[in-house]
């Protein structure tokens, strides 16, 4: 392996006059979990589909596990696993039947197959559902089954498109532990999400917005290198506070999160919390303090036009 499992060069896909993915350059190293973070419609699924050969790029190219795309993607299929965003296994088959089907299609050695399926049923906590039809299971159970099916043939590279959208927080934690186990076993994983906490667990992420890659890097580095300072404002009437802060030239952006207001300010200011207090005027019921940037701030900064420039 050359040190990259995936490289994309100006990868672009248009649907009619809409550009779903816009000149994306990526370089993904083996053995890491690489996250695509972006809201719905930002092009995560389209990007994954181009990287697995399902969609032909309108422009640009990619090399995935040494296979050049666009081109014959068939040699790639055996080496990758793909968990689609919408459940795409057979709902009228049981978990075991679905896994058996996948195993046979990928040519998992016959004598290993049933042991492998049993192992996956245990790992993904599906023993009780093994002979239940998939259509009657919960969304979370289905997603666990889909992950089991995607890793069944031990692919070198795993694509997971919003794999935890239907699971509760605890299952999500287990899910991610299993992803780290897979990485320990030597797999590389590309995962898309719109959850910050999931993105934070990735080794590296790329933030996508309207098909454009705004920024990429390791989450701690992205937070450290945020070109802004963060002040958190708490108190009453946050909407009024936001209205005063937004027009100020020192303020880059504001975002209300519950009863708090996160304010991004220019990086060159001394004592940013004092700046905020000044803008808000003498209000006793409001407190402002500087805090460490989190990934949400990185996301806001990356998708704010003045900041991204």
């Amino acid at each position: 392996m050359t040190g990259t499992v995936v490289e994309t060069r100006g990868l672009t896909r248009r649907f009619g006059d809409k550009t779903a993915v816009d000149h994306v350059d990526l370089r993904i190293a083996p053995g890491e979990i690489y996250g695509f973070l972006g809201p719905n419609g930002s092009g995560k699924t389209t990007l994954m589909r181009m990287m697995t050969g399902l969609l032909t790029p309108s422009e640009g190219s990619a090399t995935v596990l040494g296979t050049d795309l666009p081109g014959n993607a068939e040699p790639l299929k055996q080496a990758i696993g793909y968990m689609t965003q919408n459940f795409s296994h057979y709902r009228d088959l049981t978990v075991r039947e679905n896994l058996g089907f996948v195993g046979n299609i990928y040519g998992v050695p016959r004598r290993d197959l049933s042991a492998r399926i049993d192992e996956l049923l245990v790992t993904y906590d599906l023993v009780g559902q093994a002979d239940q039809r998939v259509g009657g299971m919960s969304g979370g159970q289905r997603q666990k089954m889909a992950l089991a099916a995607a890793v069944l043939h031990r692919p070198k590279l795993l694509f997971l498109d919003e794999p935890t959208s239907a699971v509760d927080p605890e299952t999500r934690r287990n899910f991610w532990e299993q992803l780290f186990d897979l990485v320990d076993e030597g797999a590389s994983i590309i995962v898309s999400t719109h959850f910050m906490d999931e993105a934070e667990r990735c080794h590296r992420i790329a933030i996508l917005e309207r098909g454009v890659k705004r920024i990429d890097g390791a989450p701690p580095a992205l937070m450290r290198d945020l070109p802004a300072q963060v002040v958190e404002v708490t108190g009453r009437d946050m909407r009024g506070a936001k209205a005063r802060l937004d027009p100020a030239p020192e303020v880059l952006s504001t975002a209300q999160i519950g009863a708090r207001l996160r304010v991004l300010l220019r990086p060159d200011l001394d004592r940013p919390e004092a700046v905020v207090r000044t803008i808000l005027g003498a209000r006793e019921d409001v407190s402002a303090e500087q805090v460490d940037p989190n990934l949400e701030d990185v996301f806001v900064a990356a998708t704010t036009p003045e900041l991204a420039a």
Partner: protein, 381 residues
């Protein structure tokens, strides 16, 4: 290159899905059953018991005897009696009856001069020429009914005068080799095998690929290493078995209910049927790669089914069709099958006699599978 294991996996999956899809599973059994009963009993080309009217202007013993004689042929039943021809015409217009027999007042004088009595020599020149004894007015819109009545035109009348008829010597002697009693079921039951198989086989497979997309399984499927030809073959084989089950149902019931026995060997029947099922299935698969959803697949099935019923020789004799229609018919697998299945079931035809048809169906199957595989793209764009 082609992996039998993957084909088997797809077959198994199709069979499992089929077994759990009660609707489809029911159709496998119910379609042949219902269609056989429907067609077997309803399609009857022998014209019998047409509702007819009677206008008796003669009102004599002779006219009553004539009416009875006509009814005795069983072609018509006199369900209504009218006083005047005008009244009868009105009844014909509103379809109360399909034909009316008008017996004129001068029935007796017409009858004695009628050549169908066989008595009188050609009339002298001063006598009025022989005229028909009575008149039929017929609703000609249904040609079968009209033909049935027209068949009564030359009915011998000798019996009217209790006099033996000097039966004319026919121009031709006709010996009926197969189906001597001329029962239409004998022709319809084997033909139905072709029609029902066309319907079910194309219907099942034309939805086969579309269904994978509609149920959202396509994205998973095209991400696997499965090859299109493996997918196509794997999807066809389970339906081959189902087709054979349907044939067994139709021919079994045909024997029990309609007394249509298979004259030929079951082995020949098996080969011929298998060839036809294969051709229908691969045609269905090609349609499936064209259709965007199951509704379109259904419409395409009907599009093929209709000519298969009308042009294949099932309804109308192939040889009687205009040449362009024959060309079109030649393209349909059902046409070749119709010829062969009737051959096997009714005449004990041998495989060698049907080599042309078999080769054609085999080639059709192969080309269909290849076209479907080539059309199937493992891409979403």
């Amino acid at each position: 290159m082609i992996s039998p294991r993957r084909i088997l996996a797809i077959m198994k999956k199709e069979l499992l899905q089929l077994r759990r899809d009660r609707m489809t599973f029911g159709m496998v059994i119910m379609i042949p059953l219902v269609q056989l009963l429907l067609f077997g009993y309803a399609i009857n080309t022998d014209i019998r018991h047409i509702p007819a009217g009677l206008v008796d202007q003669s009102r004599t013993g002779l006219s009553r005897a004539l009416a009875q004689m006509v009814e005795a042929t069983q072609v018509v039943d006199f369900t209504h009696v009218y006083a005047t021809p005008e009244e009868a015409e009105k009844a014909l217009t509103v379809s109360e009856v399909r034909a009316v027999l008008i017996i004129p007042p001068d029935l007796l004088s017409r009858a004695v001069r009628s050549p169908s009595i066989g008595a009188a020599p050609p009339p002298a020149t001063d006598m009025p020429a022989a005229r028909p004894v009575a008149q039929w007015i017929v609703d000609g819109s249904d040609t079968m009914i009209a033909a049935g009545i027209r068949g009564l035109r030359g009915m011998p009348l000798g019996e009217l005068f209790r006099k033996s008829v000097n039966t004319p010597v026919p121009t031709f002697e006709v010996a009926l080799f197969y189906n001597p009693e001329q029962r239409s079921e004998v022709n319809i039951v084997p033909g139905l095998v072709g029609i029902i198989l066309t319907m079910t086989m194309i219907m099942f497979t034309s939805a086969a690929i579309v269904r994978e997309s509609e149920r959202g399984n396509m994205e998973m499927l095209i991400n696997t290493p499965v090859r299109p030809i493996e997918l196509m073959v794997g999807k066809v084989i389970p339906y081959l078995l189902i087709g054979l089950v349907q044939v067994a149902i139709i021919l079994g019931l045909g024997y029990v209910l309609f007394d249509v026995a298979v004259q030929g060997s079951l082995w020949v029947l098996f080969v011929v049927t298998l060839a036809f099922i294969g051709a229908s299935l691969s045609l269905g698969l090609v349609l499936s790669t064209i259709a965007k959803n199951q509704l379109q697949a259904m419409q395409m099935t009907v599009f093929v089914l209709l000519p298969s019923i009308l042009l294949s020789g099932f309804m109308f004799p192939f040889d009687g069709m205009p040449v362009p229609a024959q060309w079109l018919a030649q393209f349909l697998p059902a046409t070749h099958f119709m010829l062969m299945i009737r051959g096997v079931v009714l005449r004990d035809a041998a495989l060698m006699d049907m080599a042309d048809g078999l080769i054609w169906l085999g080639a059709f199957t192969l080309v269909g599978l290849i076209v479907a595989s080539l059309r199937f793209r493992k891409r979403l764009d």
